[in-house]
């Protein structure tokens, strides 16, 4: 794909957040879901966002994907500052520049597979690039299922439709929210492989929120979020490394006695003692 190489060679970030703050409620019930997050997602990379429940990872994704507004700070898609856009412009941006994959598949139940796949382009009244759509469908192996409605498809097949929908319009960036959360491990693996291929072969940029270390291990880079703050990141981690790091984050929240500024090795050592 010629697009792939050009996308990959561009140096600007596909998306980034600057001092991102999101507050829900007010007064007594105020919750700071994001408490000042700075992060950059590179083009042509597969990034995973991990963190325990309530860490703010989904909120971060929603705000970066133009689904929700930040309370403070800025979010960019390419060079576009989302806070400067009107509702209509945000809609256009979602339609033309962003793709989505959700945990609950989120297909339109009354439309069949191919109609769901081309829906974003239909909404934009844009002719789909048939060759590209065909190749995406062939990659995910949905050729025989195109005229089936979502309720006639398995969970794995539905999520492959959702992946195809996200890829079909060749967006600048795809946001995936727990894409394997509702799938058995085999179907989940398939979906993750497609996403990996989309990045490697097609130069697609993908940001995925997950709490599954196995899923995150497919990513080029995994960032960790807790309490609305960025805690750290790992490049090309294995699932085990991720699990270990997650433990630190979780344990660190309530176990006192870990010395301030402890290295990861020291913490792991400490935890081994705890296990015993």
């Amino acid at each position: 794909m010629s697009d792939a190489s050009t996308l990959a060679t561009e140096t600007t970030a596909a998306a980034r957040a600057v001092e991102a703050v999101k507050v829900y409620g007010s007064g007594e019930t105020e919750v700071r879901a994001l408490d000042g997050v700075d992060i950059t997602f590179e083009r042509g990379k597969f990034t995973a966002i991990m963190g325990p429940s309530g860490s703010g990872k989904s909120t971060l994704m929603h705000c970066m994907a133009a689904l929700d507004n930040l309370t403070g700070g800025q979010a960019f898609i390419g060079d576009t500052d989302l806070s400067s856009l009107t509702d209509k412009e945000l809609t256009m941006l979602r339609r033309d520049r962003v793709g989505f994959i959700f945990q609950a598949f989120n297909l339109v139940p009354t439309l069949n597979a191919i109609e769901n796949i081309t829906l974003p382009m239909d909404l934009a009244r844009r002719e789909p690039d048939q060759e590209w759509v065909d190749s995406v469908i062939a990659t995910v192996g949905l050729q025989d299922r195109l005229t089936h409605r979502p309720n006639e498809l398995s969970g794995g097949q539905q999520q492959r439709v959702a992946v195809s929908r996200a890829l079909a319009s060749q967006p600048e960036i795809i946001f995936a929210d727990e894409p394997t959360g509702n799938l058995d491990s085999r179907s989940g693996n398939d979906v993750l492989k497609f996403m990996r291929e989309a990045v490697d072969d097609l130069g697609q940029t993908i940001v995925m929120v997950t709490h599954d270390a196995k899923a995150a291990s497919f990513a080029d880079r995994t960032v960790f979020l807790a309490d609305g703050l960025l805690q750290g990141e790992m490049l090309n981690p294995t699932a085990d490394q991720i699990l270990d790091y997650m433990k630190i984050l979780q344990v660190g929240q309530f176990v006192k006695g870990i010395p301030e500024g402890a290295t990861m090795e020291e913490v792991l050592e400490y935890m081994k003692d705890l296990d015993d």
Partner: protein, 552 residues
């Protein structure tokens, strides 16, 4: 295209609900269309009849319009006047007309002929054949009555009541009840047409004696000689007429007659349209509720469309397109069904005793415009609010656990709903108590009732939770877990519960409406009778129908 397909399949997904919704609109459209078609047809055939009635009369001499009410009786024209007019240049023929209402024939069993919906007319057979509008019925034995001992009766009344030609019957006239020999059946204008009249006729001298105590004519009709003009003849005879007498042309006769028919038709049409309007208001509520409900069920899908890049406009369009489709289907089917309704109305009129001239089925341009405006208008207008709500769906709705666009505000619903209801109530009271005339009363009453219905609709969700908890208590106790689930489920989504309940509410309102209307009509008739009868005794011929109520 996909959005259109989405709309179509969404409708297909809740077929029954949409079918019922469409049916409600169809009934409203069909009633309106049926009323318009049948009254247009009625108007055409009555206008046609006016033309036929006055076709023979080039001019008519009568008591001037400002002398009394024609139905109450105006001064008669002296017979000599007819002779004078007949001798005027340019007049080919004249015929005096003598007629009186409430002339009742009594059948062989001694029963007076019931008037039914029509009027009972006594008539003098015109002495000029070219100016006669009544004819001998062509059955081989009927003939024109001649002399003081013979009469004829219209063939509808005659045959329906077993009048046999050659036998003697009593006829009650203003001059008293006498017996005559029936010598024939007659018809008015056209043997197949019956304009709710029952006609008894004698020859002219007998009729004048019986009906006018030997006096003159009600009208004198005239025919012009070939080549003579109406203006010349009026100028020539004008001088011989007193100040209380006028001459009118054929066209004036037809216009007056058409006007009289038109005002009766309009009365009938407005009465029938009032029913159509009530049905349409109810269909409006039903479509509103359906679209609100369906939109609520699909809110997550609409949110998803927003995520994938649908503009607010496109989301509103989805709802609008669905409303439009319902409207188009309702309009087309309503038009078709309306033709059937028109036949039904016509049949009802015919079975009430009127045999109106057959008329072509007239589907006027306005009828089609009305059907389109009503069918599409009602659905589009009532879908406007749900469509505006749909516009407010955000992408985050697709991801929320329990999505609701507009979190239900109990306080607001109670305040707004009560306010609307109270305004409606005030209007109702104003309408009822302010002593307005019948035509003025319609607006405050109609708007008031509509507002009260709206108010209840708005308040209903606020009451749904406490009501379902209270009313569900016995079910909870009696049916253990099922009862509890039902009770809590009804309370969980008060809006949905209220919407479902309001469909029933409207149904009940409809039933009460019809019952109250029916009872009121009956009561009004009784009251009118009571007012008109001050006697202690009432003697009726052939049964008093509902008149007993007048005395009690």
């Amino acid at each position: 295209m996909t959005l259109l397909r989405y709309s179509l399949r969404s409708i297909a997904g809740v077929k029954v609900r949409f079918a019922l919704t469409t049916l409600a609109v169809i009934v409203g459209v069909a009633l309106t269309v049926g009323v318009l078609i049948s009254t247009d047809g009625l108007r055409a055939s009555l206008n046609d009849l006016s033309g036929k009635i006055y076709e023979k009369y080039d001019f008519t001499v009568r008591a001037a319009s400002d002398v009394g009410d024609r139905n109450e009786g105006v001064p008669l024209l002296p017979p000599e006047l007819a002779d004078e007019i007949a001798s005027t240049d340019g007049v080919e023929a004249v015929a005096g007309l003598a007629q009186e209402f409430n002339v009742v024939a009594i059948d062989g069993d001694g029963n007076a002929i019931e008037p039914g919906v029509g009027r009972q007319l006594g008539f003098g057979w015109p002495e000029s054949e070219v100016l006669s509008t009544i004819y001998v019925y062509d059955d081989g034995i009927s003939r024109q009555p001649v002399g003081p001992d013979e009469f004829a009766i219209d063939h509808f009344t005659g045959r329906e009541n077993g009048f046999i030609i050659g036998q003697r019957y009593d006829v009650a006239t203003p001059g008293g009840t006498f017996d005559f020999e029936l010598v024939g059946y007659l018809y008015f204008i056209d043997p197949e047409t019956r304009v709710t009249l029952q006609i008894v006729a004698w020859d002219m001298p007998t009729a004048r004696q019986l009906l006018h105590d030997g006096g003159g004519y009600d009208l004198i009709h005239g025919k012009l000689s070939p080549g003579a003009s109406f203006e010349e003849v009026v100028a020539a005879i004008g001088g011989r007429l007193g100040p209380d007498i006028e001459v009118i042309s054929q066209q004036e006769n037809i216009n007056e007659s058409n006007q009289e028919f038109a005002s009766n038709i309009n009365l009938l049409r407005n009465l029938l349209l009032a029913f159509a309007v009530i049905v349409l208001i109810i269909s409006g509520f039903i479509t509103y509720n359906t679209f609100t409900l369906v939109m609520g069920q699909r809110i997550r899908e609409l949110g998803l469309l927003r995520v994938l890049g649908a503009e607010r406009r496109q989301i509103a369009q989805v709802v609008a397109v669905e409303a439009l489709l319902v409207g188009i289907v309702a309009t087309i089917l309503g038009l078709g069904l309306g033709i059937g309704v028109a036949f039904g109305i016509r049949g009802a009129l015919d079975s009430s005793g009127a045999h109106l001239p057959d008329s072509d089925l007239i589907i006027g341009g306005w009828t089609i415009v009305a059907a389109v405006v009503i069918g599409i208008g009602v659905t589009m207008v009532t879908a406007t609010w749900p469509a505006l709500q749909a516009r407010r769906v955000t992408p985050m709705v697709a991801l929320a656990d329990d999505p609701e666009i507009d979190p239900f505000n109990r306080r607001r619903a109670l305040i707004v709903g009560s306010a609307v209801g109270v305004v409606g109530l005030i209007l109702l009271l104003v309408g009822l108590l302010a002593g307005l005339s019948t035509s003025q009363i319609v607006i405050p009453l109609g708007v008031g009732a509509l507002l009260m219905l709206l108010g209840v609709n708005i308040v209903a969700p606020a009451l749904a939770r406490p009501m379902s908890l209270i009313l569900g208590w016995p079910a909870d106790r009696l049916f253990s877990i099922n009862g509890r689930l039902a009770r809590l489920n009804a309370a969980r989504n008060p809006r949905r519960t209220a919407t479902t309940a309001s469909a029933l509410m409207i149904g009940l309102a409809m039933v009460s409406l019809v019952t109250v209307l029916g009872t009121s009509f009956k009561q009004t008739l009784n009251d009118q009778l009571k007012d008109s009868v001050e006697a202690d005794w009432l003697v009726c011929s052939g049964g008093c129908n509902n008149a007993e109520g007048a005395l009690s």
